[in-house]
């Protein structure tokens, strides 16, 4: 399958190619090339099964990583196409016409990360959340514990649950600073 990657990297700027398993490859491409790349993979290279569209929040670099995993059922081979988009003005070309389920994935990403996919059907309808008025919850800067404590009347807890400090207090009492942090 290295042939395929070599062939593709002549046309599309593939970088960070990782051969994870004999039948699984990761590659990064630019935002502009992504949709045309997966279209070519689907139509010409036999990657007919769309597995997953996922997003990773790299808040340190101010980037979102979108991962499209495609599967070739006849040759039993997977390829994962990564592309980095800007986190502040998150938007990506919609690919809903390629596979039916991509529209659902894009609805979820819009709701959970706030990524815009212009033209994707039913994008602004509620998918999972209802009446959400905060920043999208899956972003790294959304603190779910703080939100939960402020909103949901937490029951008082008797003591800490953090195993690390607890074990430290038991096993290395000399190094322990006397507090059980949460």
């Amino acid at each position: 399958m290295k042939n395929l990657i070599n062939k593709l990297s002549k046309v599309y700027e593939l970088s960070d190619v990782v051969y994870q398993r004999p039948n699984f490859t990761y590659a990064t491409t630019t935002k502009e090339n992504t949709i045309s790349l997966i279209t070519q993979l689907r139509d010409l290279e036999g990657f007919s099964h769309f597995v997953l569209l996922s997003c990773v929040d790299w808040i340190e670099d101010n980037l979102f990583q979108l991962t499209y995993i495609l599967n070739n059922p006849t040759q039993k081979y997977d390829i994962a196409i990564r592309c980095m988009i800007d986190r502040n003005e998150a938007a990506m070309t919609s690919a809903h016409y390629l596979w039916e389920q991509i529209a659902t994935y894009q609805r979820e990403l819009k709701e959970m990360y706030g990524i815009e996919f212009p033209g994707s059907p039913r994008l602004n309808e509620n998918f999972i959340l209802e009446g959400w008025d905060n920043i999208p919850p899956m972003r790294r800067d959304f603190d779910t514990k703080k939100y939960s404590e402020e909103t949901f009347f937490p029951r008082e807890r008797p003591s800490s649950n953090d195993p690390a400090t607890y074990m430290k207090s038991r096993l290395h009492p000399d190094e322990w600073d006397g507090k059980i942090a949460e």
């Binding site: 808040i59 009446g131 959400w132």
Partner: protein, 230 residues
Amino acid sequence: MSEEKNIIQPAEQASKFVNPLYAKREVTGPDGIKFIVDPLRDYFSDQRPQIYEPNSIPVIEKFLNWARAESLWVLGFGTGCGSIEIAPLLTPRFDAFRYGVMPRPTPRQSNVFIISGYLSIKTLKRVVRSYEQMPNPKYVLALGSCTINGGMYYDSYNTINRLDHYIPVDAYVAGCMPRPEALLAGFNKLKELIKDGKAENANEYAKNFDWYKANQKKIIKDWNMPDYNW
């Protein structure tokens, strides 16, 4: 960690992401009066429930309570993962029908609401609605540790922590997941409570309606109900 440098204050940014469907808008009524509609406000569940006093003759009330205890009709609403243990409860190994427990598909005909596990905000809205539709002597059996203190979802942004702040709870069945035997024990406990006349939580809900409603409104922001076309 490098994350902390980049954290943007949520309050500054949140308005950017709010769904445009939730924005307040001005609507002209059929009689020409303009008014502002807030889609996140509750226009529906404002009617107060009534308090129904128990029968004043103790012997009759005791008999009726016995009948209520021995015929528990459960609302068939699986709200969380605990509902996977409802099916074994009604099948050969555990067979709760022996104790007068029977599933009922409509809230109007059921007396017991089993909250089977965690409640997301979206489900809580339906739970409150179904609970208010049930007729007066009504009981709530809360299943799993998620309903007691949030359980393993204690820090989740979408599941409630304490059920008894939103609807009154008669009995808790702890565990994750509680076994069907534990659920049967919960039913027995509930029967004891009913026979002693202590399960009057429907009236408690009516008495403390404002407190419960305020708690519900704190987290359920979108009260819009699905509409039918007649």
